[in-house]
Symmetry: C2
Subunit: 365 residues, 2 copies
């Protein structure tokens, strides 16, 4: 059973978003984030299809978390093979599962990164037994999981310097423990600042249409004892005007080689409002979020989601029947408006192609 775990160095609790239960014949347990904060319910994914559905419907979400979940999905794919199937057939199953899982969501790159990494490792084991292949893929998924936990902690430690005593911090969507295997990315920065005893105030954009900020970020911060205020997305500019925001910190779903960053829809607008009001804008994300194969954010595909997410809430219709809806899930913030990208490998200030290349190896996989 997933639970909140005590933050090792401090008294507050941080939720576990997902965890593999058992060995190569085990399953992936997830917090069903669609039910939060009203209910804390877990899901057990025992095959690739149910994991695909969980990712697609946002039961599990957040770029790093769906990367970890995807890697475990490859372990699930190998469970379907019988004792008479060959290693070659197993590798084909892996390729198929990788393609299928990669089609669940198009924007975040961590999913592709994790799937590729686990598949590469499996292919390197060519010629061994099926059981050995299963163990290899599980070991790689576990490695990705554990690295994610460590990566989150490091992002927080590198980033906490940007939260000053008494500051007002704005965040958008959820880049917390629920978005990762560990303690989050943007929220990890806040957790680490909180551990250091800094007092600060977080404003959480509710983040329409699916309210990840109100439902998930506010819940995580509240559990950690951090002062949090929920606002509607359209209130951020007015808060900045009043001088209540000293920094904006968000996560990321994909970062191009030049630092352009795809994140939850609304982030781009916030970056412009932050510049207008002289507020520094930070991205907190692991190096697996970088896609160095693309030069700029213009190449990042933007997922379009269903109209229903916008015009129906809790069974109630919020717009006239038959109305047209535009529902992009992400937008791209320009590198020039990002004060720094906080990664587990350190902080990249005023990110551009050169500074990013210097900090990160050309092929992080």
């Amino acid at each position: 059973m997933l639970h909140t775990r005590a933050c090792s160095e401090n008294a507050f609790m941080i939720v576990e978003a997902l965890k593999w239960i058992g060995g190569t014949d085990g399953c992936l347990e997830l917090v069903d984030q669609r039910q939060l904060p009203a209910e804390f319910v877990t899901l057990q994914c025992r095959d690739v299809q149910s994991l695909f559905d969980a990712i697609k419907t946002l039961a599990v979400r957040g770029a790093p978390a769906i990367g970890v979940a995807g890697a475990y999905g490859l372990v699930l794919a190998l469970q379907k093979l019988g004792p008479n199937d060959s290693v070659e057939e197993a590798l084909e199953s892996l390729t198929e599962a990788r393609t299928y899982l990669a089609s669940s969501r198009p924007t975040a790159v961590n999913l592709f990164w994790a799937l590729d990494r686990a598949c590469k490792r499996a292919n390197a084991q060519h010629g061994t037994t099926l059981q050995s292949l299963r163990e290899t893929v599980l070991a790689e998924a576990n490695a990705i999981y554990l690295e994610d936990i460590e990566m989150c902690r490091r992002i927080g430690q590198h980033g906490q310097q940007f939260i000053k005593e008494g500051a007002g911090i704005l965040t958008h969507c959820n880049a917390g423990a629920l978005a990762t295997a560990g303690q989050g990315t943007a929220l990890s920065v806040m957790f680490e600042a909180h551990k250091k005893g800094k007092r600060f105030k977080v404003y959480a954009d509710e983040t329409r249409p699916l309210l990840q900020g109100a439902r998930l970020t506010a819940w995580e911060l509240q559990q950690a004892g951090i002062d949090v205020t929920v606002i509607c997305d359209n209130m951020a500019a007015y808060l900045m005007k009043q001088g209540k925001i000293n920094a904006v910190i968000t996560g990321a779903d994909r970062i191009a080689a030049n630092g352009d960053t795809a994140n939850k829809i609304g982030t781009y607008g916030l970056s412009i409002l932050a510049r207008e009001h002289g507020v520094p804008f930070y991205i907190a994300a692991p190096s697996s979020t970088f896609d160095l194969n693309i030069k700029t954010g213009a190449e990042i595909p933007i997922e379009q989601r269903a109209a229903e997410e916008v015009i129906r809430f809790a069974g109630t219709q919020t717009a006239p029947s038959g109305v047209t809806v535009y529902n992009p899930a992400f937008d791209v913030t320009e590198a020039r408006d990002i004060a720094a990208i906080i990664t587990e490998q350190g902080v990249i200030e005023n990110p551009n192609t050169e500074r990013i290349a210097r900090r990160l190896p050309p092929n992080p996989v």
Copy 2:
């Protein structure tokens, strides 16, 4: 019974938001806007208290509409007086009702303007009979109502030049027929452009927390046969980036002498995003929305509304229990970011104190 009325010069229907039924012993009928678009329900206000509640809970809303409603509220106040009450007592009742109704919502100035106008007219009738006083106040309320209808039409006619063939227009909240006695302010501009046969596309910000854009604006435009797409508030910047928005047109709740304009929360942010993307930003509002007694927007009081509006929807909780919420209903857009204010008296381009004073008499009341 209120209904949609045929737009005189064209085939499409425009809703009536409110209407006085009967003579001095009549009542004010309102469309209950809290129920739209799911249900078209009307309310009959037969006393000052029920009208106050209707304004406070946004059954009737929109700066011009609550001005008209407030004036009729004074007619309701006079109905409570018996045959033995004096004209002096009646005038005291009016003053009391005016103060009470004015306390329902603090930001929009049209309410105070209409209450003051009807009270002034009543006081000028000092010395007549009670019934004559009632008739005077009703006549003044009717005059405000009829002027509002004409004012809406003129705003549309003055403003339609700003909608070019094939344009994409963004609007925020609802400044339509539902916000006025007539065919609206910002939406009147669209209705008049539509009448001229122009084809254009409107993006309606859903407008959190109460979704007036998704519920009301989309419904009105759909009824009129205008191409409308609902977006979440946080998507506007991304639309502008893609070049899909050629103009932003909104209504206003109060305009200071220098042109600074209070409107629904989120408008200020849009004005900055519009400037960033080279998109002209227009305000459409009657001259009764100007408060020439205040120099700048800094003096406009901003209504704070209940947390429940943000964190509960259709009975479903959308944020953790006990979380802090910030819920300002309005913000102030700076005059320098407004390309023009479209009034019934004409267009004030690049508004500032001098240009506004030249166009509008110093005391519009």
